[in-house]
Amino acid sequence: MAVLLRGSVISVRPVLIRSLALVCVILSVLCALCLGRYPLSPLRVMGVFGSLLHLSSASDPVAQVVVMQARLPRIVAALLIGSALSCGGATYQAVFRNPLLSPDLLGVLSGAAFGAALSIVSGGSAVMVQMGAFGGGLLAVGTGLLISRTLPGGGILTLLLGGLIGNAIFTALLSLVKYLADPMDQLPAIVNWLLGSLASSGWQELAWMSGPLIVLTVALVLCAPVLDVLSLGDDEARSLGVSVRVMRPALIVLATLACAMTISMAGIIGWIGLLVPHVARLLAGAEHRSMMPVTALLGAAGLVLADTCARGLTTGEVPLGIVTQLLGALAFVLVLRRLRSGVA
C-alpha cells in the first residue's frame, strides 16, 4: 500500500500499524483506569479529568482519589517501563544478532537483584533499595564487560561469555545474601521484591525517574536505523562505514541503563523485553525503523494490561512479574507458531 506524495513514495502501512498500536495504548490506559477492586465507569473517569481541567464543576472526590492517587501513577509507570524494556530487548536482540535474547543477557537482572537484596538486608529505605538495584545492575554488567576484555578473541561471543560469567558471580552473591538474610522478615521481602510489582509507584518517584527513562527510550527508538546495520555482523557494518567499536557499546549502555532503571522502579519483570519485539516484527516488519516505535507502543500497552490483571484478577494483588511470565510464555507460543508457519 503506497501513495505518491510530491514525487516520493510514502507507504501507508507503517502509519496504519503505528496508529493501531497507539489505539491499543489508549484503550489499555482506559481499561486500567476503569477496572480494579473499585470499578469506575468511563464516564466517571472522564468526569475526574473534566473537573481537573475545569471543564466541569461536578466533583467526585472518591473517583478522583482512585484515579489520581492509586491508578494513574501505576499506569504512567507501566507505560514507561513497558516501552523501555521492549525497546531495550529489541536493541539487545539486534546488537547481539539473536532474536531470542532479552535485556537481562549481560547480568543486569542478577546484579540488580543482588543490589536490592543487599539493601534490604542492611535495612535500607525503599529509595536505598532502588538505588541498590540500579547500582547492582550496572556493576554486574560492568563486571561482565571487564571479564570479556580479559578473554582472547573479541567480538560478540566473548562479550556473551563475559556476561555469562558476570551473571553467575552475581547470582551466587544473591544466593549468599538470601542465605544470610533473616528468614522471618528479610527473606520474604527479598522474594517479594524479586517478583516485581508496581504497587509502590507514586508521583514522587515518577517525578525524578520518568525524565531519564523517556530520554533513554526515545534515544533507543532514534537509533533504530543503526540496529539494521549492526545486525548484519561486524565486518558488514564496518564495510558500510559504521564504527562497530563505538556504536555497539553505546547501544548496550543505553539499553542496560534503561533496563536497570525499570528494575529499580518495579523489580524483575520478565518476558516483555523478549516477546514484544517479536510481536512488533510480525506486525510492522523486521526493519528496525518501522518496528521500534511499534515496539515502544505495544510494550507500554502490554505492561499496562498485565498490571491491570495483576491488581484486578484476585482480591489481593498477584505480583506483576508472575503475570508477565505467565502471559508472556503463553503469548510466545502463539508468536512462534505464526513465525514457524511462515506468516512472518
Binding site: N98, P225, D228, G233, R238, S239, G285, A286, E287
Partner: protein
C-alpha cells in the same frame, strides 16, 4: 591507476607469537580482477580484512588512493571500498530491498532517509542482480544463491570503486558460480578494482587479470594467470600432483599419479 596498495604489510594476532602475514607489497589498480589463491589458513581473509581497514596492521601500512587508510574516515572508506564476507547469516527477515538500501548508508548516513539518487542506485543494483521482482521478499526465505545475489546487490549499490570479496563462490551451485565470475569480470571492465579469494584456480585462469598466491603469510607469486596458474605451482601449493590441459583459452587440471 592504483586504488589500493600496501607496503611491507604484516599482521600478528593479538596474542599470537609470529606474524600471520609478512612483507606484503601490493599495488592494486582500477579495472583489475585480482584472484587470491592460498591454502586454508594461509591468511587470505586476514589480508582482505587488512586492506579493508577492519584490522590494524602490526607492521607497514595500507594506502587508499595514496593516503594511509588511518587518515580516512570509516564512511569515506565505505564510499571507495565495498566488501562481501564469506558467510551471511540472515538473523532478521529484512526485505531484499532494505538489505540493498543498506548499501547507501555511507552516503545517506544512519538516519535511514534515502535521496532520489540513493533510490536510483538501489533500483539499478536490484535490476542488475536480477532481483527486481524480489524487493518485498524477506531474505530469510531466499536460497543461499539468491541471498548471495542480495549481498552483491548491496555491494553494487554502494557504488564503490573497489570491491573485495571473501570466497564469494562458496556454497553456490555451479551455474551461480559461473554467472558470478562473469559479473565480477563485467564490474572490473567498468573500471572497478575487483579482488576475490578463491579455491578455484581454473575459474581465475579464465576470468582474472591477475592472480596472487599467498603461502605461509607471504606473497609467493603475483602475475597474469597464464604465468601463475600452472600445474607446477598449483601442485606445489596444494601438495597434490596435477596435470595441466589447455583447451580453447581454458586451463584444466586433473589429479596426476602420486610418485612413490
Amino acid at each position: 591507476m592504483t586504488l589500493l596498495s600496501c607496503r611491507n604489510l604484516g599482521f600478528r594476532q593479538p596474542r599470537g607469537d609470529g606474524l600471520v602475514l609478512e612483507g606484503i607489497d601490493l599495488s592494486l589498480g582500477k579495472g583489475e580482477l585480482v584472484g587470491l589463491l592460498g591454502l586454508n589458513g594461509a591468511g587470505k581473509s586476514t589480508l582482505l580484512r587488512l586492506l579493508m581497514g577492519f584490522l590494524t596492521p602490526s607492521v607497514g601500512d595500507v594506502f587508499l588512493e595514496g593516503r594511509s587508510l588511518r587518515a580516512w574516515s570509516a564512511s569515506a572508506i565505505a564510499r571507495h571500498l565495498a566488501y562481501v564476507s564469506q558467510s551471511h547469516v540472515a538473523t532478521f527477515p529484512y526485505t531484499v530491498r532494505r538489505m540493498v538500501e543498506l548499501g547507501r548508508v555511507p552516503y545517506s548516513g544512519l538516519t535511514g532517509r534515502l535521496s532520489a539518487d540513493d533510490r536510483l542506485a538501489v533500483d539499478a543494483a536490484l535490476e542488475r542482480m536480477g532481483l527486481a521482482g524480489f524487493g518485498d521478499r524477506p531474505v530469510t526465505e531466499l536460497s543461499g544463491g539468491e541471498r548471495q545475489r542480495v549481498v552483491l546487490a548491496r555491494a553494487i549499490a554502494q557504488d564503490a570503486q573497489g570491491l573485495l570479496l571473501d570466497e564469494p563462490m562458496s556454497g553456490l551451485d555451479y551455474g551461480y558460480q559461473l554467472r558470478l565470475m562473469a559479473l565480477l569480470a563485467d564490474l572490473a571492465r567498468e573500471g572497478r578494482l575487483v579482488m576475490l579469494t578463491s579455491h578455484r584456480p581454473e575459474e581465475l585462469y579464465v576470468r582474472a587479470s591477475r592472480v596472487l598466491v599467498l603461502d605461509h603469510g607471504r606473497i609467493d607469486a603475483d602475475g597474469p594467470p597464464q604465468d601463475v596458474v600452472t600445474a607446477q605451482r598449483m601442485s606445489a601449493l596444494y601438495g597434490v600432483p596435477l596435470i595441466q590441459m589447455d583447451h580453447a583459452g581454458n586451463r584444466f587440471f586433473h589429479h596426476g599419479r602420486d610418485e612413490k
